[in-house]
């Protein structure tokens, strides 16, 4: 497809979907097929996908596509009928969880899981306040989007929400867990000023949008003790870190040794098929159903459950969490070497196959979002897809499918090296 055709598609897109539906890069990117870590455009040009976490076990993974196709041809119906696949899937998921997290509620998206977590937390705790990290993003429903405090306006002060900073990197000097927990005291006090007590603290277990600093094991214990002392629950949002992405645990919260009350996760579960789940303790589910009702027609339907099981199968058979640890570590080392050579890299952060490269102004050392944006555009032109994240939008977001190989890491590093040197 030539440039003119892409321009026409962009025009149609603007006309049909509106200008709010922005494109990813500053120019059209139009893939037509995918396999593993590769996307291919209409001219046959290959792009290394180092951005998309949704195709968790690789684009168009054969095992997953086969499970999807076979079950879709056999039966797809609602989950008030009896079906064994949803039960097999629930058993497999629960086996990866700490004891006590014993009940699954299947939904279709991470947003739905986080929104449902709120309904459960309110019912169980009787409280109606929320705590989130300062730069949280947990989804797009009316309630969940309000957890992102950047959406606050004078008309919507959202006094039911208090924020805490994300915990500092576990290796940061001059910080300790007790000092950090003081942020929770302040948040609880701020809520109390407006008559609220926390029902839930929402936490992305990778703190990705907060800047990808990972707390050390045990670091959050005291903070959660203070939260729970006033009745609040901890909701671990595992859409980003879950399913082994950090390389050191199946779920991100396991890296810092806490046990959340509710775990939510989303679309990587289905490798692109809209499938998500909430896992919690039975007493919390029971408290909810004592006074309310919930039914998600298609959460955990036979097709979704078959897809979810296939993803778990591939993850285990191909030892992809180990791969994330080994290749992620190799990639992080390589990026660290670039940082030593380039004044434009302030730090390399993250774990496993979710890394962030902080782009800074070489002179001032300050976050440089404009430079970061130019870099991701140029990386795409040279055949490597990455994105941006972080409070200052200056972190290169490297979050590839879990089948990312050492040679893929080499290509990414070499390309980034060339881009930095060119510009």
């Amino acid at each position: 497809m030539d440039k003119q055709d892409q321009f026409s598609l962009s025009e149609r897109r603007l006309r049909l979907l509106g200008p709010g539906m922005r494109q990813f890069y500053d120019f059209p990117f139009h893939p037509v097929s995918g396999q593993g870590v590769w996307l291919v455009d209409g001219e046959g040009k290959r792009y290394l996908d180092a951005y998309n976490n949704v195709p968790h076990v690789g684009h168009c993974n054969g095992v997953v596509v086969e499970a999807l196709s076979r079950q879709a041809a056999a039966l797809n119906t609602n989950t008030r009928y009896l079906h064994e696949t949803i039960l097999d899937y629930a058993e497999r998921l629960l086996a990866t969880m700490p004891p006590g997290l014993d009940t699954c509620m299947f939904v279709c998206t991470g947003t739905e899981a986080n929104d449902l977590a709120w309904r459960l937390a309110r019912a169980y705790t009787g409280n109606d306040g929320a705590i989130a990290t300062r730069h949280a993003y947990h989804g797009n429903s009316t309630f969940v989007s309000a957890l992102d405090c950047s959406t606050r306006t004078p008309e919507r002060p959202n006094h039911w929400l208090a924020t805490v900073p994300a915990p500092p990197d576990g290796t940061s000097p001059g910080q300790d867990a007790d000092a950090y927990a003081g942020n929770f005291d302040a948040a609880i006090a701020a809520l109390a000023t407006h008559g609220h007590r926390p029902a839930a603290f929402y936490m992305d277990s990778l703190f990705a949008t907060d800047g990808l600093d990972l707390p050390a094991s045990g670091y959050l214990d005291e903070a959660l003790r203070r939260l729970r002392a006033v009745g609040g629950l901890c909701v671990a949002d595992e859409v980003q870190p879950g399913l082994g992405r950090t390389g050191t645990a199946m779920w991100g919260f396991q890296n810092f040794g806490i046990v959340p009350d509710i775990v939510t996760t989303g679309k990587p579960m289905g490798n692109g098929h809209p499938l998500a789940v909430l896992v919690t303790r039975r007493e919390i589910v029971d408290a909810f159903f004592a006074g309310d009702r919930y039914f998600n027609t298609f959460g955990g339907n036979p097709v979704s459950a078959a897809v979810g099981l296939a993803v778990l199968d591939v993850l285990e058979h191909e030892k992809l969490s180990d791969n994330a640890r080994v290749v992620g570590s190799y990639l992080k080392d390589g990026l660290g070497k670039l940082a030593a050579d380039s004044g434009a890299i302030g730090a390399v952060k993250g774990a496993g196959l979710f890394l962030g490269v902080a782009i800074v102004d070489p002179v001032s050392g300050q976050p440089d979002a404009g430079r970061a944006r130019r870099i991701i555009n140029e990386m795409c032109r040279r055949g490597v897809l990455i994105g941006l994240t972080g409070p200052a939008s200056n972190l290169l977001k490297i979050r590839p499918p879990m089948v990312f190989a050492r040679s893929d890491a080499d290509f990414l590093i070499d390309t980034l090296d060339a881009v930095l040197k060119a510009g």
Copy 2:
């Protein structure tokens, strides 16, 4: 699968998913395959599916499964990249809408569509109140579930919500559109008492949970005029009536001659694949994006869009809306004849292939939910799947896949006749 195995599955289900995840019938129903209007259990027994609207063009429709399988094997990625399928699908959908409804926002579930409608309506109108019908059900998010006023509690009075009765049947005597519009004046006044003005009126264009009474053309015009005079938008929820189910229009709202400001629809779009859409005017979308942001990673992804297109193809090629009109009318007539013979049927309601049979106590003529529940269980034992709806839970809900044939209608009528005569 024998009874013992089904019992074991039910036990596992209770253990893994909790008691809140109720089963549909009073006994386990365990289908293992589906085709067209038929579901088959493990012992090879066939059940006529006269309940499930999600497999809109039939269980495991070959055209849809093929489109799903082919696209899932080729590419499935996020919608910030350029892809033509989402545009083809948006064009096809918009071509079915009244002029002015010119912009699509794709999401994964009807809940997400209705929740997003609220965010748009608030942004565009600047208002923060809602109006819904008395027995509304529009989905399961924190916001959308609150539109169901049966979830109100003293702790959550939801003063931002006012309710109106569903409009009476268009043929009901002693009612007129102007008198009905008075309910909107009262709702608007009730909101004003608490400092709210309506941002949106949510309406299931079949009023299914309100009892399946359908207003005549023009009936709602005056009500909507009063809503719009105070800035409110009309949201038509087309999850139930949409895609030709009423047999007389592609979308339910077209049956009574109104043009909503926002149209939402859900899972029948994808024949079971989680796919949903919101359609509205560009100015409303622009007002939202002027102060907020929204991105649904997988709404309208290449696989979902391919599935949605295939459903539209089958709907058109097989003239399924015509089928809904012809077979629905035949079925309604047949049910009407049963009503003449049985004191347990109070009325037959609905349109096209969404019919409701009001079950009443033969002596008192009052709604009889217990009898209705016994009937749907006995229908299932005899191989016909139907459900329940309506404010009094006494309406047999007959809402089959759109490929329902005259012979299927005969089987349903004969079976219901036998069940009524037996007891």
